[in-house]
């Protein structure tokens, strides 16, 4: 199988690793950005006010149970009539990935804000901050570890599931898996699977490193002076 990686056409050709990898990351990045844009305000609202927690949990559970594979095919068949170009395939793919990512992000933000010490919240109100200032200046910075963990989980799920884009004729690393299976080319299929796993690993490491730079030192007890 390592021979497969040493053939140059497999890297830069039509279905080469480099173009497929870039497409894969593009679909994932767009889906993650949309999911965070939608879920972040929702999580902030339910976390800060405490209202709607049951509704949020109910909706996220329902979204989690949707089968991505079935959903993407259903959306392609429903939406193909409205688009003449590749959008008929790209839009369902992005929708499915966004739906997949909404629960972890929303719950991460919600849990993060809810987990802020009530004393801290009280102190902030005590010094006269408005509710919005409390949210932006106190609760969100304290909640960042859980928020990042939510986004990290969403990113991993998106990267792994973006392989289904290949089933509806798009690119991405799933292309190697599906074409390899149809042509009975195990080397190609395994290479695709290994690459997806490696990409997920790299994204995971990236997020865990980013925590170091984004989380306030006081929260993670990294300050030397107490």
């Amino acid at each position: 199988m390592s021979d497969w990686f040493f053939t140059l056409s497999h890297w830069y050709g039509d279905d080469g690793i480099v173009p497929l990898l870039l497409q894969h990351m593009a679909y994932s990045a767009v889906a993650l950005a949309i999911a965070v844009t939608v879920a972040f305000p929702v999580g902030c609202y339910t976390g800060h006010t405490g209202k709607g927690e049951a509704l949020l949990i109910g909706i996220t559970n329902a979204l989690r149970s949707l089968p991505s594979f079935g959903l993407i095919i259903l959306l392609v068949i429903l939406l193909a009539g409205y688009f003449e170009s590749d959008m008929a395939f790209v839009l369902p793919c992005i929708i499915v990935l966004v739906v997949l990512a909404l629960p972890p992000v929303a719950l991460g933000v919600h849990a993060g804000i809810r987990s802020v010490d009530p004393n801290v919240h009280d102190a902030a109100k005590g010094i006269g901050l408005t509710p919005l200032q409390v949210l932006m200046q106190v609760e969100l910075p304290c909640a960042i570890p859980l928020i990042i963990s939510g986004i990290r989980s969403a990113a991993l799920q998106i990267v792994s599931t973006a392989t289904i884009a290949a089933y509806v004729s798009l690119g991405g690393l799933g292309r190697l898996i599906i074409d390899g299976r149809a042509a009975n080319d195990f080397a190609q299929m395994t290479a695709g699977a290994v690459l997806v796993a490696l990409l997920a690993l790299v994204i995971d490491v990236f997020f865990s490193l980013s925590e170091k730079f984004v989380v306030s030192p006081g929260l993670s007890r990294r300050t030397k002076n107490p």
């Binding site: 095919i73 392609v76 068949i77 193909a80 009539g81 688009f83 003449e84 170009s85 590749d86 008929a88 395939f89 290949a166 509806v168 004729s169 292309r175 599906i178 074409d179 299976r181 149809a182 042509a183 009975n184 080319d185």
Partner: protein, 294 residues
């Protein structure tokens, strides 16, 4: 549970499993019927299974295996014993350069090219060949009747088909070599299924690989282009059976099915499947109609 009871339970369970495995071995050899990953082939395998069960042969179905590149090795290594095949496509898989194209030529060539471990039974007159199809609008716009007519405009058109067309001779490379067609791009969808049909009707692809028994060709007024250079050879339905499993009952039953199966049957049954009748029901109806069920 007391110790005594526990040992007694374990002992009787062990005895039962030994007894049942001995009993199952005595019940005779099991025939494993496989199929490709599209409904028509699953239907044919179910029909074979039903007819063999009616002859009191024990059958196990392993449907929806995958493309030919996956299930033929499975047939050769004993994972499955019977597969309903299409003569021309199988011949192309075994011998890509073969020039046979009529039903008789293909059948004769296939007999010589099949490996020793498997045998082909009688071919049926029922055929289901690959066709290149376009919408009526595209056909009228470019005056398309045969695949040759695509040559001047192929560069502007998108072709859609299954993933195996990327590497198969009866696919992208064959269209390029035999007809000189270089399409703008090739989109991987499914085997003449809902994704390909939706994409063709909504113009994400302009030319699609369909099968001649796809009911939507008639229903949606699609145009199946003629194949004058015979890239897609005759595709008669033929059962391929592992020699180790073959016996006179299996041979005569499957030959009876092949003799009574027609292309019109396939089209009608595919229409029923498209309306969500279950594969088992459709197969049972056909078997009962032809007196081959229990």
């Amino acid at each position: 549970m007391t110790i005594k009871k526990r040992y007694l339970t374990l002992f009787s369970a062990a005895m039962l499993s030994v007894a049942s495995s001995v009993w199952a071995a005595d019940a005779g050899q099991k025939v494993i019927i496989g199929s490709a990953d599209f409904p028509e082939n699953q239907l044919l395998a179910t029909i074979y299974a039903g007819a063999l069960e009616a002859q009191n042969i024990q059958v196990e179905k392993k449907l929806n295996i995958g493309s030919r590149e996956v299930y033929i090795p499975a047939l050769l290594d004993g994972s499955i014993n019977v597969i309903p095949e299409y003569s021309g496509a199988l011949l192309s898989y075994l011998d890509a350069k073969n020039q046979a194209h009529s039903s008789e030529e293909v059948a004769a060539a296939l007999v010589t090219k099949l490996p020793e471990k498997v045998k082909m039974l009688n071919t049926s007159t029922a055929q289901n060949s690959d066709v290149l199809a376009v919408t009526k609008k595209t056909a009228d716009k470019y005056k398309l009747k045969t695949i040759d007519d695509l040559k001047p405009i192929a560069g502007q058109l998108v072709l859609g088909g299954p993933a195996e067309w990327k590497t198969r001779h009866e696919g992208v490379s064959g269209l390029r070599e035999v007809y000189g067609l270089n399409f703008k791009t090739f989109k991987v969808l499914d085997v003449a299924g809902p994704l390909t049909l939706t994409a063709l009707k909504n113009n994400q692809i302009q030319v699609a690989d369909l099968t001649s028994t796809t009911p939507e060709i008639k229903k949606d007024h699609l145009v199946a282009l003629d194949d004058p250079k015979h890239l897609f050879a005759a595709q008669n339905i033929v059962p391929i059976v592992a020699v180790s499993t073959l016996n006179p009952t299996i041979e005569s039953t499957l030959n009876k099915i092949s003799a009574q199966l027609t292309t019109e049957d396939l089209i009608a049954m595919n229409e029923q499947l498209a309306e969500f009748t279950s594969i088992d029901d459709v197969a049972q109806q056909w078997l009962t109609k032809h007196g081959l069920s229990k």
